[in-house]
């Protein structure tokens, strides 16, 4: 089935997320939709899938205009979508998830026909070698298998157009290769595949046609033979260097020593399992791993947001576990949280106030009970200039800033204290390329000033670019600490749980 979008425009208030976008997807091809985070890719697909109504433009299937009131219509028309955040009901089995919404029933009481659903899952699973058990419960399955369930869901509804929205964000490199293989099989079986991504490597591996969008507009198309640099400059609008300039590290004494740190969550699941490592002054330790393997718990346990169930950590010889967060921060730790809008800033407060969240009760920002607005404003202006925060005024709310500028506010605040240790969790997620360069430069500068730095990142490119040493986490454990020039295949296998010796 041929899918065509003509002049799709979608606005949210004043913001135009999609601006007259045209797209043509032929059956039996893989069409990559390439763009940075926030370029409008997902919005476009949600319009196509009937989750949003387009303000202008039309969707054509085999040259017939169609209108989808909801996802049900889109699916009935043969469009399947694998969302970035999986749409699977966790306590249900694979078969129940696949049948949901178009259940077969049997008998006079019209009860669910689970056998039919199981057979369907098995048939599709066998056809593409998915190796999925129809009776497995979703929450017990690894992420890669969950994604295959999503594809089965789409195929069980006879989807002839399959949209994959950032499908590799949560996969290990090996799972990614597996998925790309599946995409090729699907294409060869005649399915039209739309691959939404910002990862150039994947695009080059499977795409037949590439459409690049930037700030809600189609800025060009490219052949898969284009180089990564060409695609990158098309995607961000200017030439980009894919490297971070930094000198070799000159590590000093041990700054942070973590010993057997263990965190068990409220549901009784061990999220962090006897983690031990050291970071020296003047070096960057990058923690690589697929999201959700204990990285969040590690950073939160270090600054005291969650209290560890066992083990300890000490900073420059002083134990920091078991102390209050404030105590920990003031002892010289800077923290850039992974979810900047949730944990990094208070969206409704001004930039100036966000800049002193950590020190608001300290001299010179406060005297006794009273804040010192003039001091706060002066300092804020200084920080805004130093960190190149693009804002109309320091009284603007932090929530009204772009992602990159919000992150600069967070960095400015966290770097304003003398630091012994900087912990940054996915510091460049969702930022534009210019901001990424700025953040990276600042992090390296902090290292060179003698602080120990921990970077948590799910992006292998970022890990390799910044790290002096790489620790790989899997299922709450550190499977190994390796040099930054370790090859990607080895890192990928370690991210899937293989130990360094097995992987290398």
């Amino acid at each position: 089935m041929k899918l065509e979008l003509r002049g799709i425009t979608k606005r949210f208030g004043d913001f135009t997320a999609n601006d007259r976008i045209d797209l043509l997807v032929e059956p039996g091809t893989v069409h990559a939709l390439l763009g940075e985070n926030g370029a409008g890719k997902s919005t476009l697909m949600n319009v196509l899938f009937g989750l949003y109504d387009a303000d202008e433009g039309e969707v054509l299937l085999d040259d017939e205009p169609v209108v989808f009131a909801g996802p049900g219509d889109a699916m009935a028309a043969g469009i399947g979508m694998v969302h970035q955040h999986f749409m699977l009901v966790h306590p249900f089995t694979v078969a129940e998830n696949v049948m949901l919404g178009h259940e077969d029933v049997r008998g006079p009481a019209k009860l669910l026909d689970l056998d039919a659903a199981r057979a369907k899952v098995r048939e599709i699973s066998d056809r593409f070698n998915f190796n999925v058990d129809p009776d497995a419960v979703i929450e017990d399955l690894p992420v890669g298998a969950q994604q295959r369930v999503e594809i089965i869901k789409a195929l069980s509804r006879d989807a002839s157009v399959l949209i994959l929205d950032e499908p590799t964000a949560v996969l290990t490199p090996q799972e990614t290769d597996e998925l790309l293989g599946i995409v090729k099989d699907l294409r060869d079986a005649g399915t039209a595949v739309v691959l939404i991504t910002h990862k150039l490597r994947e695009v080059k591996a499977v795409a037949d046609t590439i459409t690049v969008i930037r700030r809600g507009k189609v800025v060009g198309t490219a052949e898969p033979s284009a180089t990564q640099e060409e695609l990158a400059s098309l995607m961000v609008g200017r030439a980009v260097s894919m490297r971070v300039d930094k000198e070799d590290a000159t590590p000093g004494d041990t700054m942070l020593a973590v010993d057997g740190l263990t965190v068990v969550d409220a549901a009784g699941i061990v999220q962090l399992d006897h983690v031990s490592f050291e970071v020296k002054a003047g070096e960057i330790l990058a923690i690589a791993g697929v999201q959700g393997n204990g990285q969040t718990e590690l950073t939160e346990a270090l600054i005291g947001v969650v209290s560890p169930d066992a083990g300890s950590a000490s900073l420059d010889g002083d134990v920091i576990t078991g102390r209050s967060i404030k105590d920990v921060l003031l002892s010289g730790i800077g923290f850039v949280p992974e979810d900047r809008t949730e944990d990094g800033i208070v969206a409704n407060m001004t930039i100036a106030n966000n800049l002193i969240l950590d020190l608001h009760d300290q001299e010179p920002y406060a005297k006794g009970f009273a804040l010192q607005p003039k001091v706060i404003a002066d300092e804020a202006r200084k920080h805004v200039e130093q960190f190149d925060v693009r804002a109309t005024s320091i009284e603007q709310t932090a929530g009204s800033l772009s992602g990159g500028n919000q992150q600069k506010v967070v960095l400015a605040r966290e770097l304003s204290r003398p630091l012994k240790l900087l912990i940054a969790s996915n510091p460049t997620r969702g930022l534009d390329v210019g901001s990424i360069e700025f953040v990276h430069k600042r992090i390296v500068a902090e290292r060179d000033a003698g602080a120990a730095v921990i970077i948590v990142s799910a992006e292998l490119d970022e890990v390799v670019a910044l790290a002096d040493r790489i620790a790989v986490m899997y299922h709450g454990r550190i499977v190994g600490i390796v040099a930054p020039d370790t090859d990607r295949d080895t890192l990928g296998l370690m991210m899937a749980g293989a130990h360094q010796e097995e992987a290398a």
């Binding site: 899938f49 989750l51 909801g70 996802p71 049900g72 219509d73 699916m75 009935a76 979508m81 969302h83 999986f86 749409m87 699977l88 009901v89 966790h90 306590p91 249900f92 129940e96 998830n97 049948m99 949901l100 919404g101 178009h102 259940e103 029933v105 009481a109 019209k110 009860l111 669910l112 690894p142 890669g144 298998a145 869901k153 290990t172 090996q174 799972e175 290769d177 597996e178 068990v264 549901a267 009784g268 699941i269 061990v270 999220q271 399992d273 899997y474 299922h475 709450g476 454990r477 295949d489 080895t490 296998l493 899937a496 749980g497 293989a498 097995e502 992987a503 290398a504």
Partner: protein, 429 residues
């Protein structure tokens, strides 16, 4: 490089961290059973005996009453409690949950020990065992209906705190309409309508205006309380014909009601109880084995996933909340027409909140709701029985008994139950 992609899932399985063992519930159960052993078992005078009456004058088979040495009986019941605590510990050691029968049997054993202790050495009085079970079931009726209402709503993602109000509205309208028509059975038709209306208001505020569902629920309880009290003290007081005590006769089912012990308990009840059996069975099957049930549970767990396969999330929620309200309303008829009483102010007396507890203890399933409600009904009936035989415990403490049982049950003695993941969260596109 030896590891291949196919090995990755196997590695994942072997590397999966093991959750810690949780012995808290087992220890709590054990401590209470030990207390029961010491106080009720060893605290009973050793020569005393307790008489249990099972047969009724009308029974086909006559089972003689039996008298047990009180101390032995109380010790045995406490040991049953200890054994169940041991079973819970054994399962915890294997990191597995225990079935709902454990807390229910445990609760009844400990309460039985209490009863034996209280009845010890009172030659003039005897414990009416069949009567106790019959009234347990009867007193559980509004709790079961309320818990079913809660289950229906929460499975679709709406928190229904307004069960109390729905029960009260049902009780009121049942009494009013039945009195006007002069037929108690018409009250059974009116009651669900009242409950459904309360449910509809809750559903609209929750799905259309995204108001905090707990706040709306509490406000609705207040609203119904105010409205019914107002009409009670004005219209109903001025015109007594509008609020008559109309009772529904017990309907003995032929043959079944002649089974010893269970017959009179289960099959010599009034129509509302028989409706209860049907509703529990139908909902249990529908919720877990029908297309409707699958969709409802999907909406309560992951509404967006349901939406992306074409299920109307908010429509499902409204429908379930109204249906849940109707069921709670029907349960409200228990207080008036099914009990043969006229409507009285605040006559539901917090039963709606106990029903919520039964829903949680029953782990959001109709079958579980029935079992949990029976436990609470038993506690309630026991209170009445203890009062009747003149127990040494002050009546104020006895009145607290069902609520204490509730708190212990819900406080996690049975392990942490997992509610539907999206309950209480409005679905916004």
């Amino acid at each position: 490089m030896t590891a291949t992609v196919a090995d990755a899932p196997a590695a994942a399985a072997s590397n999966a961290p093991i959750p810690p063992k949780k012995f808290g519930p087992a220890i709590a159960l054990g401590v209470i059973a030990l207390l029961s052993l010491v106080i009720f078992g060893l605290g009973t005078a050793s020569g005393a005996s307790t008489t249990f009456v099972i047969a009724r004058p009308t029974d086909f088979f006559k089972i003689p009453s039996f008298t047990l040495p009180s101390q032995l009986a109380a010790i045995l019941l406490s040991v049953v409690g200890l054994a169940l605590a041991g079973w819970t510990a054994y399962r915890a050691n294997q990191r597995r949950k225990v079935g709902l029968w454990v807390p229910v049997v445990y609760g009844m054993a400990i309460m039985g020990a209490l009863l034996t202790w209280a009845g010890a050495g009172r030659d003039a009085t005897s414990i009416q065992l069949t009567g106790l079970l019959t009234s347990s079931l009867f007193l559980a009726v509004p709790l079961v209906f309320g818990a079913l209402a809660g289950t229906l709503c929460e499975r679709s993602g709406i928190i229904n705190i307004a069960i109390e109000g729905q029960l009260l509205a049902g009780a009121f309208l049942a009494a009013l309409v039945a009195s006007m028509v002069g037929n108690p059975y018409v009250g059974l038709i009116a009651a669900p309508i009242a409950g459904a209306l309360v449910g509809l208001v809750l559903a609209i505020f929750a799905t259309k205006y995204w108001v905090n569902q707990i706040v709306v629920g509490v406000v609705l309880n207040m609203l119904v309380l105010g409205l019914t009290s107002f009409f009670f003290s004005t219209v109903m007081t001025e015109n007594g014909d509008l609020n008559q005590p109309l009772g529904m006769p017990k309907l003995a089912i032929p043959l079944l009601s002649k089974i010893p012990v269970l017959g009179p308990v289960l099959f010599n009840q009034n129509l509302l109880v028989y409706i209860l059996y049907v509703v529990v069975a139908v909902l249990q099957i529908m919720l877990f084995r029908s297309r409707w049930g699958l969709r409802v549970r999907a909406v309560g767990e992951h509404p967006k996933a349901a939406d992306t396969v074409g299920i109307q999330v908010n429509r499902t929620r409204v429908r379930n909340t109204v249906l849940g309200g109707a069921i709670a309303g029907l349960g409200g008829a228990f207080f008036t027409v099914a009990s043969g009483l006229a409507f009285g102010k605040e006559m539901t007396a917090g039963k709606g909140y106990i029903a919520l507890a039964a829903m949680i203890l029953g782990r959001w399933s109709p079958r579980g709701a029935l079992a949990a409600a029976l436990l609470f009904g038993f506690a309630d009936a026991l209170r009445a029985q203890l009062g009747a035989i003149g127990s040494p415990i002050p009546s104020q403490f006895l009145a607290m008994f069902p609520y204490i049982a509730t708190i212990f049950a819900v406080a996690g003695l049975v392990g942490h139950a997992r509610p539907p993941a999206s309950e209480g969260i409005p679905y916004k596109k």
